[in-house]
Amino acid sequence: MSTLPSAPSINREGLNDDQLRQFYVTMLRIRRFEEKVKELFLDARLYGSVHLYIGEEAVAAGACAALRDGDVISSTHRGHGHGIAKGLELGPMMAELMGKATGYNFGKGGSMHIASLDHGMLGANGIVAAGIPIATGAALGFWIRGSREVALCFFGDGGANHGAFHEGINFAATLKLPAIFLCENNHYAQYQPVTQDLPVSNVADRAAAYGIPGVIVDGADVLAVYAATRRAAERARAGEGPTLIEAKTYRFEGHFLGDPESYRAKEEVAAARTERDPLTRFATLLTQLGLAGAEDFQRYDDAVRQEVAAAVAFAESSPEPSPDLLLTDVYDVDGRA
């Protein structure tokens, strides 16, 4: 784990004060959203298969900040953070989690399928690694058109063992497509420690198999993630092909809501919460840089909590989808199954 950079030597990556503060707010928005989701789930006010992103916020926040409008992401079963970082609104997100008619997917997708093509969010995905070839395809589309957008794919350490990882990255590498493959190595694939399934030390070590750069970053360091993604995006836009970035991170919660977590020690989780909380870390940095103080943080928190509360209110007061929707959207135009 990298130690905290001391304030004076920090590389701001050309970002201004507000942009730095924005990292914090984005991470906080994800954190509070996820905490609320957990609470609602435990209260049975929300249902389904829910995988929380708590502890990993710096990855989504750092990566998406390095993208431009028009760039796209594909995501995973653990996709709430990616959506929020890509600019999706909390209200329709929460509504989708509740299966409401006002959700991004009209309640037909739920947590694992939230998508908003308008935001360049090509979908959370219930299938491990399946977002990888999809991102390759988006990058292929950009490459064919000769436009300058980039496609970024989030996936987990477990996903790096799936055939779709290999095929998707290899194909992108052969054509030097504008794609970024960002592995969130949170050290577990469901209940299996990464060491058991991955016979090498780092997922990034696999980049060499495709002749592309493999970059390891501290996934608790939002600036580091931003910097690595920005460089990968520049490379991609310059026609130099994909990059595989591995962000070492940790999930503070169980694999899904309901996970008994018998496979890891409570101490391990506690230590990560203390030492590797991306929010605490970045708050310290902002403080050291003199960009925010206790009051500011309080203000951010109040605002975000309000935003989340409003999202919940919106979602809970939203109607259930009409029964007609069962049969629509299977096909375009004729619209019925």
Binding site: G48, K100, G107, H113, I127, G163, E320, L325, L326
Partner: protein, 340 residues
């Protein structure tokens, strides 16, 4: 105590002893018994050490890391490894957590495992069980909810098993493990916990290709697949109060299919309804109807009907999901319309 002594002792104690177990516990019993009985039997899969639904729970502790193998998220490797191990004399039981994940392994399952014996001119035994979980009703949304028995029943070389009760789950899984063909063994999401019954602690197996008549009746034949047997029985109970006696048949295995039992029933009732969770189009209902029509055409008083998923992916919203699953009301209404 070695495996053998244990087994004798177990058999003695167990004779005629019954135990109230859930569907997942019954499956667990079957695995444990077969692994004790035959050292060639082993399990592999992504979740089998912890076992979210309990089917493989405790096996790792008893049989160790060479008989209970946690794999990477690599469905093609899981299926292929099972096949390769079978080719060198093992009897693998491979798990795919959700049936939809088998889409990542279709080449190994169908181009390889299903066809291999035939392509080799018969010169191979392929004693493999591919366990998986299907069914709807738990708000898992479209990518974790789909009943794909059609695909596998459409692949000659595979057997397709769909137990609906704890008793059947145990007996059929034991038969599957002892079968020398690749078997797609489909479990049900909701039944794991909801289905409970008295199951013999002792050894028993259930032959493939023997349907169970779950209720006898003379007015209509309802064939239900897996959890839909429950729905059919509930409908039958409701209909009984209106004086309509439905015969409810649980095929238990789709390949081989016990057509005789179904045809005999239809010859008695003259009416047929098939209920399943899979999509209606190309579903097993069509196959059963086509076969019944071919074999009992002159006995039919009305066109056979299907009640199934209305050809839609499964929506997340639980009310919509519920609407996508055949209901007691639908079955009752269908019977009434058949009889009117």
């Amino acid at each position: 105590m070695g495996g053998h002594e244990w087994r004798n002792e177990y058999a003695k104690k167990a004779a005629s002893v019954m135990s109230e177990v859930s569907y997942s516990q019954a499956l667990n019993m079957a695995l444990r018994e077969e692994m004790r009985r035959d050292p060639r039997v082993f399990c592999l899969g992504e979740d089998i050490k912890e076992s979210t639904y309990g089917v493989t729970r405790g096996l790792y502790e008893e049989f160790g890391p060479r008989r209970v193998i946690g794999t990477p998220i690599s469905e093609t490797a899981i299926a292929g490894a099972a096949l390769g191990a079978a080719l060198v004399g093992m009897r693998p039981v491979a798990e795919f957590m959700y049936m939809t994940f088998m889409m990542s392994a279709m080449d190994q399952l169908v181009n390889q495992a299903a066809k291999m014996k035939y392509m080799f001119g018969g010169r191979a035994l392929l004693p493999i069980v591919f366990r998986t979980m299907a069914g709807a009703g738990r708000s898992n949304a479209a990518q974790h909810t789909q009943s794909l028995e059609t695909w596998f029943a459409h692949a000659p070389g595979l057997k397709v098993v769909m137990p609906s009760t704890p008793y059947d789950a145990k007996g059929l899984l034991k038969t599957a493990i002892r079968d020398d063909n690749p078997v797609i063994f489909i479990e049900n999401k909701l039944l794991y916990a909801t289905a409970k019954e008295q199951v013999p602690v002792a050894e028993y197996t259930i032959p493939f290709g023997q349907a169970a008549v779950r209720r006898t009746g003379e007015h209509v034949t309802i064939v239900g697949l897996q959890r839909m047997v429950e729905i059919a029985l509930a409908a039958a109970a409701e209909l009984a109060s209106a004086g309509i006696e439905a015969e409810v048949i649980d095929p238990r295995t789709l390949v081989p299919l016990d057509l005789d039992t179904i045809v005999a029933s239809v010859q008695k009732t003259h009416r047929l309804i098939v209920v399943h969770e899979a999509h209606e189009r190309m579903g097993a209902g069509a196959e059963i109807i086509a076969q019944v029509v071919a074999h009992a055409f002159d006995y039919l008083d009305a066109p056979p009907q299907r009640i199934a998923n209305p050809n839609v992916p499964t929506p997340f919203n639980r009310m919509l999901e519920e609407l996508s699953i055949p209901s007691v009301a639908q079955v009752v209404a269908a019977v009434q319309s058949l009889l009117s």
